[in-house]
């Protein structure tokens, strides 16, 4: 049973901001509802007013512009992203990550912006967005700001978002030319589950060098990009030495916990195994 709530469904951003400013932290934004309604039912989140943003036209955009990048609006469902050819072809690591979020039914409701606003350490879209260097476009009545996704998460289920602001859209710039990217996700079961550990990685050639990017889910209070491991990969050595260096640094930088999905020790082991596996795939392809 859900607690008592009020509900509104504004048609315009103007109406939305009026409601958000009136209720502030007592208002919660509803898009797909696949996280919000569970949190309300479990009394993890409290809200007096639920504001449904699905009727606001400005938030529906899923648009790619050659040479610029991809815009994913706040109400774009995971289903739409999965069905987008341009996402599959140009942003394969994002497509692969989205494919692993929730199940095939939830994807009809759940949104990518909701996945990052929920700010779970296990958010599967986050590692992919981190290595694609996505920008979070935040809107309020006061104005517009664009924040690198690396600065968006502040803790478990916490972001920089103020109660009167919304994420209008996520912007994903054009990835490096001829890059290869993948999201490896370890789950307890074969079909669908939250990650025990997830690793997104991409590699590309610049000059003679192979450059890499690495980011993780479920290994720290927030989704985590590990730039130190990326930089260590650039230092001289054989490919095997480079990979092992990156693996070691990644293992040092994560701070996994033990929970129902796995122990801290197992997660640390998986960080090493998955990082090594992913980097081997990357150096084979690029």
């Amino acid at each position: 049973m859900l607690p008592k709530i009020e509900y509104s469904c504004p048609q315009t951003l103007e109406e939305l901001f009026e409601i958000l400013e009136k209720y502030k932290e007592q208002a919660k934004v509803l898009a797909g509802g696949t996280d919000l309604l569970v949190s309300l039912r479990d009394r993890i989140e409290k809200a007096r007013h639920i504001v449904d943003i699905k009727k606001i036209k400005e938030l529906e955009k899923l648009e790619y512009r050659e040479g610029e990048g991809l815009v994913i609006g706040a109400t774009v469902t995971l289903r739409k992203i999965l069905e987008s050819r341009v996402v599959k072809e140009r942003y394969p690591v994002l497509w692969e990550a989205v494919r692993t979020i929730g199940d095939m039914i939830l994807k009809n409701r759940a949104t990518l912006v909701g996945n990052i606003c929920n700010a779970s350490p296990a958010a599967d879209s986050a590692p992919a967005l981190l290595i694609l260097e996505a920008k979070v476009r935040i809107l309020s009545r006061e104005g517009f700001r664009e924040v690198p996704i690396e600065n968006f998460f502040t803790g478990v289920k916490k972001t920089i978002l103020k109660p009167w602001e919304i994420v209008k859209e996520v912007f994903v710039p054009e990835p490096p030319r001829n890059h290869f990217g993948r999201y490896l996700k370890m789950m307890r079961v074969m079909s669908e589950d939250l990650s025990v550990v997830g690793v997104a990685g991409l590699g590309y050639r610049e000059g003679g060098d192979v450059k890499i990017r690495l980011a993780y889910s479920s290994v720290a209070p927030t989704p985590l990009r590990i730039r130190e491991a990326e930089e260590a990969f650039l230092k001289p050595g054989t490919i095997e030495e480079k990979i092992e260096r990156a693996v070691q640094i990644a293992a040092e930088k994560v701070s996994p916990i033990s929970d129902v999905r796995g122990s801290a020790e197992y997660r640390l082991h998986l960080v090493k195994v998955l990082t090594r596996r992913l980097l081997k795939q990357i150096v084979e392809v690029v």
């Binding site: 009020e6 039912r41 289903r79 199940d103 095939m104 039914i105 009809n108 409701r109």
Partner: protein
């Protein structure tokens, strides 16, 4: 709590109902419209037994507020058959014995319909993936998968 008036179509029939905002679509279907084919189980989006079609797409009705369906079209398992004739999927479930306790069957039938509508000739892997949001607590997945594949095969 202030009630909201919503107008929607369910199984082809238009309804006008007043609901409190904290009620789910699942509650609306079972407790107001008395359509008991849609099952209430985990109530947190994990098991999928409350799955119905909302504007043609399967959704878990425990994770949709009733007020959200204003202006929408809903189909439950009761709305699939025409003139008392079962659909090919329903018949295939019977032929294949694709049920044990039967509690998850309406949800699998709904998802099976959706899958074959959008992908008339799915591979086994595609069927398995499409069904990953519905839990069969008796673990009788194999005949369910085979029933859906059989319908696709017979249509060819």
């Amino acid at each position: 709590m202030e009630k909201k008036k919503i107008i929607f179509k369910i199984n082809g029939v238009e309804k006008t109902v007043e609901v409190e905002p904290n009620k789910t679509l699942l509650w609306l279907i079972r407790e107001v419209l008395k359509l008991k084919g849609t099952k209430k189980a985990c109530e947190r989006g994990d098991c999928g037994l409350c799955t119905v079609l909302l504007n043609g797409e399967p959704v878990k009705s425990c994770l949709v507020l009733a007020v959200e369906v204003d202006g929408s079209e809903i189909v439950t398992v009761e709305g699939l058959s025409r003139d008392g004739e079962l659909t090919p999927i329903q018949k295939a479930f019977i032929e294949h014995g694709a049920l044990q306790c039967g509690f998850c069957t309406p949800a699998f039938v709904i998802v099976g319909h959706w899958l074959l509508n959008r992908n008339p000739n799915p591979s086994r892997e595609e069927v398995v993936e499409a069904l990953n949001g519905v839990l069969c607590r008796c673990t009788g997945y194999r005949p369910i998968i085979e029933a859906i594949l059989d319908v696709a095969k017979k249509r060819k």
